[in-house]
Amino acid sequence: MPERSDEELMRAYVDGDDAAFRALFERYGPIIFGMVKRRLHDDELARELTQQTFFRLHGARNDFRQGSKLRPWLLTIAMNLVREHWRKKKRRKHVDLDIDTREAPSAERSPLELRQRRQMLMSALDTLPPGQRDVIELHWFQERPYREIAEIVGSSEGAVRVRAHRAYAKLKEILSGKLVG
């Protein structure tokens, strides 16, 4: 049996099929969790906001219409929750780690090296302004097209492309510098 699309599952859920909601959660829960954790660097908060995202989706389900797309909905709800969290906290938590970059990484990385690499990437991402950070999250990690990203962040496609270009350039400069040492 072919897998049901996001929109088919959402419409089934709106019509009262609870199993469809579970299927959507299984499909998108890990994605939302990963996205939120990359932004907040906190496992517990990521779990909380992931649950809150789907709770809000449940509350807003009667707004889901023919032609609506679920993924932008979920990503926008999650990003709004992250923004609201940062607004309350007033400042962002930065992950910084001095990494010994003198040795070239081996083909097989230890868990410590993998964790360091992840934290180095998070640290670099944290240097980006919030608007660029959102675009990189959606374009690189979520692999969304610019048109959809523009819809999610509430901007024009042109502005999103500019932010992406600047962000990628800055990331390349930072990460190249960190790895070369």
Binding site: F25, K37, R56, G59, E84, K90, L121, K172
Partner: protein, 240 residues
């Protein structure tokens, strides 16, 4: 095409090790528990109504406030109020009210309101009430002037307008599905604008001092109050 423009070096730099995934079943049980708890609350079913219906409910709350004012507290000189001025004042305030209320019930799957848009909505709402209070020609037809100290003639109007704005603020907050700061601010704008419209239909007193201190102050009280509460809550959460 990917914005990295298929830059192998950049793609290599950005390749992140996979995140450790949570226990999906356990997370889902948490969501179900939240939903079950929320659905037991009396008003939750109303919050989940489609957005057009929620906006209609907010408008009905506003219409009730205006109706009560006209039935129980209509200004005695309403019959002699120049129609063009009445349309100008109520039309301006009403249009801004509609915009604020519409924005306050913005669907949560839409991006959060940008700070500059929030500032624009708030600024225009406050500025309009001030301009309407001060602009020459708008309220010149009102001959009744206060002959008592400011606090005595302004505070009853301010309280009246504030109290009549409360059902509007309450309705907008109750119907809101999220709890963003921007939604609270524009709800405060809407309540302040509704309070000003009520006062325009209720209070026969003129003079820029009275109109500023007793009428325009209502929206300033609402918006300023929300800002103050937010600042206090943030200061409190920062101390923990």
């Amino acid at each position: 095409m990917n914005a990295s423009e298929r830059d192998p070096e950049l793609e290599s730099l950005l390749a992140a090790p996979a995140e450790e995934l949570p226990d999906v079943a356990e997370l889902f049980e948490g969501v179900k528990a939240q939903i079950d708890a929320a659905e037991k609350k009396p008003g939750y079913a109303i919050k989940t109504q489609p957005t057009p219906r929620r906006r209609l409910m907010a408008f009905i709350a506003f219409a009730m406030v205006i109706l009560v004012t006209l039935l129980t507290g209509r200004r005695p000189d309403l019959g002699s109020y120049p129609p063009a001025m009445l349309v100008l004042v109520l039309g301006s305030l009403g249009t801004l009210f509609a915009l604020s209320a519409w924005t306050a019930l913005r669907p949560i799957h839409r991006p959060m309101l940008a700070p500059w848009k929030l500032g624009l909505v708030t600024g225009v709402a406050v500025a309009t009430t001030l301009v309407l209070a001060l602009a020459p020609g708008v309220h010149d037809h009102i001959t009744l002037r206060p002959d008592m100290p400011l606090i005595r003639h302004a505070s009853p109007c301010m309280i009246y307008g504030f109290v009549f704005g409360l059902p509007v603020y309450g309705a907008l907050r109750f119907l809101d599905r999220g709890s963003s700061w921007s939604a609270r601010i524009v709800a405060a704008c809407a309540a302040g604008l509704a309070g000003n419209m009520v006062l325009e239909l209720h209070c026969p007193m003129g003079g820029s001092t009275h109109l500023m201190a007793g009428h325009a102050s209502v929206i300033i009280a609402y918006v300023g109050g929300v800002f103050l509460i937010e600042a206090l809550l943030r200061a409190r959460s920062g101390k923990r």
